[in-house]
């Protein structure tokens, strides 16, 4: 079966552009939480040579001199636009795997003339959402990723690359000139080790002996080689399996000193984690809480974490909060400038499989379930965090710094675009 990989070009920057015509043609970067580093760049910003992950303060002056615009990340906007794109793409195939916020695989079984299907996809997503996408077709997921990369980097392909339509010699030429680091799952470190084995192009990796690769690296990379050779090892996963762990953590907008302020942050993280937990119908058997100072600041360093077991696995935000705050009180030390904290729920089990608790009465359990269901309903209607536990505070000094955030153009009434009548 042929697999398509569709991905939005410069997703965050492109989303901002849809709603702000003033950004057309000028370099745009989107910054990480707390406006620290560059996490997305428009084509113009890439052309200026701004690397991914660059600390913004280092490039700010030069970037502005070129008329660049920097924006805080606007996740509500990106999430809404992502949902729209995925829903449009779902119309092109019954088999869809949403792989990340801006890319998905489609199973193209039985489809002919892929090149024109690819152009249809591009045209439809562009018109319906204003977002540019590229499409790669190939017999395996790994090759589809590669085809997508080619479609994006080489303008002559007009945004669509169908590897299945190329002759073996054309394919060789194409991947012979592509850096091995562009292969899905080959990071910088693996690429460096491959280079020491004289493997620098995608073609060389494809032609490597899989058994030798497994011995030198792992089964995972061996599978990559087999996929590059055109044999599919990775299937489309249309349903994301429930997570085994749920983590919520943030770097703070300002350093936090007092236990009470840390509690507000941790309380908010637990509320969010518990919400995700209920979203996948699981209960947690333990909760880990951690707090740490910033390794980038010249101050006394401290980092501790503690796992608090929970007698009976639960999805109750109140029980989980209590456990997390107990853990936090145990690891908290006075006199440090805390820069980050978080919680991780683990030992997750399906809600139906949680054993009955001898010491918890049925009524109590029903009460908790009803309370949590109401909490989720209220938040679904009035926005995330509208109703939360008393321990959580969204407005604390820990709150993320996002000074350059654009309006939530498509999800909030007060933020809609203004049109001159």
């Amino acid at each position: 079966m042929t697999i398509a990989l569709i991905d939005v070009n410069n997703f965050y920057a492109s989303c901002e552009r849809v709603f702000n015509p003033a950004l057309t043609g000028c370099p745009v970067v989107v910054l990480s939480n707390n406006d620290g580093c560059v996490v997305a760049r428009s084509a113009e910003a890439k052309a200026l040579g701004i690397p991914m992950g660059a600390p913004f303060f280092k490039i700010e002056k030069e970037f502005r001199r070129h008329g660049g615009v920097a924006l805080s990340s606007n996740y509500p906007l990106y999430a809404d636009m992502s949902n729209r794109v995925m829903s449009i793409l779902a119309d092109f195939s019954p088999d869809q795997e949403v792989y990340s916020i801006d890319e998905c695989f489609l199973g193209m079984a039985g489809c002919r003339d892929l090149a024109s299907i690819g152009q249809n996809i591009r045209q439809k997503v562009k018109q319906w959402t204003g977002l540019p996408v590229c499409v790669g077709f190939a017999p395996t997921k790994t090759l589809a990723k590669l085809a997508n990369h080619v479609a994006k980097k080489r303008p002559e392909w007009r945004g669509v690359c169908d590897l299945t339509a190329l002759s073996p010699s054309e394919q060789d030429g194409l991947i012979g000139g592509t850096d091995v680091a562009e292969v899905w799952g080959v990071g910088r470190r693996i690429a460096a080790r491959l280079a020491s084995m004289d493997i620098t192009s995608v073609r060389q990796l494809r032609d490597a002996n899989p058994a030798r690769i497994r011995r030198a690296f792992s089964v995972v990379l061996e599978r990559t080689v087999v996929e590059l050779q055109g044999t599919s090892c990775l299937t489309l996963e249309d349903v994301t399996p429930p997570k085994k762990q749920i983590m919520v953590s943030r770097s703070f907008g300002n350093p936090v000193y007092a236990l009470q302020d840390l509690e507000h942050a941790v309380g908010a993280f637990v509320s969010r984690a518990a919400e995700k937990l209920r979203g996948q119908n699981s209960c947690a058997g333990s909760i880990l809480v951690f707090a740490q100072t910033s390794p980038f600041r010249d101050e006394p360093q401290y980092a501790r974490s503690l796992t608090v077991p929970i007698a009976t696995a639960t999805d109750d935000a109140l029980t989980l909060t209590k456990a997390a705050l107990t853990g936090l009180a145990a690891i908290y030390r006075d006199g440090y400038a805390y820069a980050k904290a978080g919680v991780m729920l683990s030992e997750l089990v399906e809600r139906e499989r949680v054993p009955q608790d001898l010491f918890m009465r049925e009524q109590q359990r029903e009460k908790s379930a009803a309370l949590m269901a109401t909490l989720d309903k209220v938040n679904a209607r009035f926005g995330r965090g509208a109703l939360t536990t008393g321990a959580a505070s969204a407005q604390g000094i820990w709150r993320m710094r996002q000074r350059k955030k654009s309006p939530c153009y498509s999800t909030r009434w007060e933020d809609l675009i203004r049109v001159k009548g």
Binding site: P21, S87, G130, S410, W413, K420
Partner: protein, 165 residues
């Protein structure tokens, strides 16, 4: 064989541990269909569900909202503060009310012709028509398919700026 005799306890008492509080539960039958006293509704078999304004939207993924600012389209009933429903999936045609990008701003006007040449037309004599340059054209962002106007009493002191609460 005789068992060695054990000293017998003087008094033997078994303590049963019970929860501090035993809640009494009374089972009540619940009928989800609702059994009511009185007469059954003669309309029960004919219920059709309530209308939803979202049904008026054709392309959900391509539909966006915007606030209208200004009175250049007053002649066609678009007032300052109105909510525009914009469909980006619709292909703009002559006569459509569209949202277009002009000088890095969004504007709402009607697509039309003057002396055979395409223009963005206001619906208010106080505003001039905007010619569409034949070479580069203009960027149409989407087609306005519905307009929500707040009427009468509800209008007073209630503009888009108040939507935050």
């Amino acid at each position: 064989m005789l068992l060695p005799s054990l000293p017998r306890p003087v008094s033997f008492r078994l303590h049963f541990l019970t929860p501090a509080e035993v809640s009494e539960r009374v089972a009540c039958p619940i009928f989800t269909t609702g059994i009511r006293a009185g007469f059954p509704s003669p309309a029960a078999d004919f219920e059709e569900g309530r209308l939803d304004l979202n049904d008026l939207i054709q392309h959900r993924e391509a539909t966006f909202f915007a606030w209208c600012e200004g009175d250049s389209m007053i002649g066609l009933g678009l007032r300052d503060g109105d909510l525009l429903v914009i469909d980006k999936a619709a292909t703009p045609e002559m006569g459509d009310i569209v949202v277009a990008e002009i000088n890095a701003e969004f504007t709402v006007k009607r697509l039309g012709r003057i002396d055979g040449k395409p223009h963005l037309l206001p619906a208010n004599p106080a505003y001039p028509p905007i010619p569409i340059p034949p070479e580069e054209g203009i960027q149409v962002w989407g087609v306005v398919i519905r307009v929500f106007t707040i009427q009468g009493r509800a209008r007073r002191g209630r503009r888009y700026d108040d939507c935050a609460d």
